[in-house]
């Protein structure tokens, strides 16, 4: 067991301003004992990947409610790979129809959370799946 806290970045890619979920999650992660970096809205995938590397996070949680996840989520994974940072786990959530899940998994998104996912279940998934190195 590592003695440091898990570091998670909650990020809002694209132009979407629906940040209620992202901000509630950021607070929830903080209460769960994680170190939280919240990017705020309107981040490009490039900005997100760069800050994820710079902040040396374990997880990036992407939130998108605009329908642009098919482009934005895979792009973040791609950029992390290019930066040799594919040890950072990328998960995502928002308004994402079932039929897009597979393409997101194929693109390297490790988990997708949609409306109805409880805060506790998301924290649980992170605790179960992310090993602090």
């Amino acid at each position: 067991m590592a003695d440091r806290k898990l570091r998670i970045m909650v990020a809002k890619p694209g132009l979407d301003g629906h940040d209620r979920g992202a901000r509630v999650l950021a607070r929830c992660f903080r209460d769960a004992g994680f170190e939280v970096i919240y990017t705020g809205c309107h981040q490009t995938p490039e900005q997100i990947a760069a800050s994820a590397v710079q902040e040396d996070v374990d997880v990036v949680g992407l939130s998108c409610l605009s329908g642009a996840h098919r482009y934005l989520f895979p792009r973040v994974v791609e950029l992390l790979k290019e930066a040799d940072a594919d040890d950072i786990t990328v998960i995502g959530g928002g308004v994402i129809p079932d039929h897009d899940f597979q393409m997101l998994y194929d693109a390297g998104i490790k988990a997708v959370f949609t409306p109805g996912s409880t805060l506790d279940s998301i924290v649980q998934w992170i605790n179960d799946n992310i090993k602090i190195q």
């Binding site: 901000r23 329908g67 098919r70």
Partner: protein
């Protein structure tokens, strides 16, 4: 005093008797839960009686429609004169796709148009910009130049139909396109009617589509108000919006208070900056509220809103024109009350919320479609939502009489309570030096974040219930048809924009953008320059880039 002494004495005795009975019953069998509260967590009593509204004064606080303080409505004839406007918010894909949907909705009995733009348009970017990638047409219609706009309004008589445009940082640009389109259709500016949302303060507070910092953003808003007051008299130049504040997770009282305080800020700014008399522009200020699922809380919020605004305009701003005292508002049912699970239940939620809006006296209404948790509405889902309004108007009988809930002990008492709590917020923000200052301190943002987090925790602790989410969960999926905006829309739109760029007179574009820049630097009204630029086929982003260059860019302070 609202009741004479005998009634209160009698009520006091009977109430005491009833309370004793309650105590006995509860001692034997507990209530289902200890605390009963609204969706905003406002505690509600088991019963209300004359003593709860005994301090009201009928003439001062209630009265009749068309009479100060307009608690019961602005229009003396209520819905008998005309129903609220059936105004469905709609826009998707390309201008052509949206124009088709508009014609369908008008054919189905919609009486006003309301435009949803995609994110690049909302944020002042053209489709091809790197920041805009992946978003084209997804959340609404993509508009880059006047050519797109002309296609959007094709076959729509702009002198007959009023159009609302949900657009904020680039509101001046889209409105300029509307004015230019009217000119091309041969309709004078004095004949066009509609609304631009153009409420920047709530963007910083809640909706997060911003471009320039608060101060210059408010300046551009005041430019549009001035231009409207002088040249486009039938246009509502701001729709001061609580909707997004509520969707971001605020309580009903916060929605009420922050929205009205935003309204105060705009009025102050126009008077100070433009030197206009309050009555020269205040009658064209409009409002926009959310109608959430807690039925009475919503009705009371809307009634309280009218009464507060009337007092603000008469007493704070000394407006003399009755129309300045009127709060006219549009309502949309609450997107955040809908559930992805068991989506057909959303039809019921929307119907209840729409009914609340009508009983609250809305002038205009959008009803959400059952699929809006997942995607933009399909044609069928939009039609059901529109018919929900038709049924309320034509079948339920609620339009027969005005403000039917007036005089209800509970409704009047809750209306008073919400008004009191809203005034507390308004005074607090006054003390902070106004809304721009409060926003800079993060005050409304954090109040909303607290409320949103609290609600989510209450939901997860089953203290609040959402059917299908934390109770009556089936685990089975109800499949509904999805409207999918294909990625090809983006490619096609980029090609369209390229074609416009090739054919336009680039010198004229540059000249008009330079003129706009000079106007911005000098502090002149931007509207005439915007109209000139869009007529020359300058793109939305080209105009907005001028704003960004002169006024600077605002980025999300990322508070949580």
């Amino acid at each position: 005093m609202y009741f004479d002494k005998d009634v209160l004495t009698q009520s006091g005795e009977l109430r005491k008797k009833w309370e004793d009975e309650v105590k006995k019953t509860v001692a034997k069998s507990l209530d289902q839960k200890e605390r009963w509260s609204t969706v905003s967590d406002l505690e509600i009593n088991r019963i209300y009686g004359p003593e709860d509204i005994k301090d009201m004064d009928f003439a001062r606080d209630i009265g009749y429609p068309g009479q100060f303080p307009y608690l019961r409505g602005n229009q003396v004839t209520g819905y008998r004169g005309r129903y609220w406007t059936f105004r469905m918010f709609s826009g998707m894909g390309s201008a052509k796709d949206t124009n088709q949907r508009w014609h369908m909705l008008l054919k189905q009995g919609q009486t006003g148009l309301s435009t949803a733009f995609d994110f690049p348009t909302l944020m002042g970017y053209d489709t091809g910009d790197p920041k805009a990638r992946g978003e084209c047409g997804k959340c609404g219609v993509a508009i880059d130049t006047l050519e797109d706009f002309m296609q959007l309004v094709e076959g729509i008589p702009l002198d007959k139909i009023t159009t609302s445009m949900t657009i904020n940082p680039p509101a001046s640009v889209l409105w300029a396109m509307y004015c230019a389109a009217a000119e091309i259709q041969g309709v004078p500016l004095t004949k066009i009617g509609g609304t631009i949302q153009n409420d920047m303060l709530k963007e910083f507070i809640a909706q997060k589509t911003f471009m320039c910092p608060p101060e210059p953003s408010v300046k551009i808003v005041s430019d549009t108000v001035e231009f409207g007051a002088k040249f486009v008299p039938r246009w509502n130049t701001i729709s001061i919006s609580g909707y997004h504040i509520r969707e971001a997770g605020s309580t009903a009282v916060q929605e009420l208070a922050f929205t009205l305080r935003d309204g105060i800020e705009y009025v102050e700014d126009v008077i100070r900056r433009k030197g206009l008399e309050v009555d020269a522009f205040a009658p064209r200020l409009s409002f926009f509220f959310n109608s959430h699922i807690d039925f009475f809380e919503e009705i009371c919020k809307m009634r309280a809103a009218r009464r507060i605004w009337a007092k603000v305009m008469r007493d704070r701003f000394k407006a003399k024109d009755e129309r300045s005292w009127w709060m006219r508002f549009h309502t949309q049912t609450a997107g955040c009350s809908l559930t992805a699970q068991q989506p057909y239940n959303n039809v019921i939620r929307t119907a209840v919320e729409a009914l609340a809006a009508v009983l609250g006296g809305t002038q205009s209404l959008h009803t959400n479609s059952l699929d809006e948790v997942w995607c933009l509405p399909t044609e069928h889902a939009a039609e059901i939502a529109l018919r929900t309004q038709h049924i309320i108007a034509e079948e339920t009988g609620v339009a027969n009489t005005i403000d039917p809930l007036a005089g209800s002990y509970f409704v009047e008492s809750l209306t008073n309570k919400m008004e009191e709590q809203a005034w507390e917020y308004i005074e607090k923000i006054d003390e902070m030096g106004g809304m721009v200052k409060a926003i800079e301190k993060g005050f409304p943002q954090m109040e909303i974040a607290d409320a949103a987090y609290k609600y989510q925790r209450q939901l997860e602790a089953n203290e609040k219930i959402m059917v299908g989410v934390n109770k009556y969960v089936t685990g089975e999926e109800q499949k509904i048809p999805f409207l999918d905006i294909e990625d090809r829309v983006e490619k096609e739109q980029m090609a369209r924009l390229e074609a416009v760029r090739r054919k336009r007179d680039s010198k004229a574009v540059k000249r008009s953008l330079d003129d706009l820049k000079n106007a911005c630097k000098k502090g002149d009204n931007v509207m005439p320059y915007c109209i000139e630029a869009v007529k020359n086929l300058a793109s939305l982003q080209e105009v907005c880039d001028v704003y960004r260059e002169v006024y600077g860019e605002y980025s999300d302070p990322a508070m949580y």
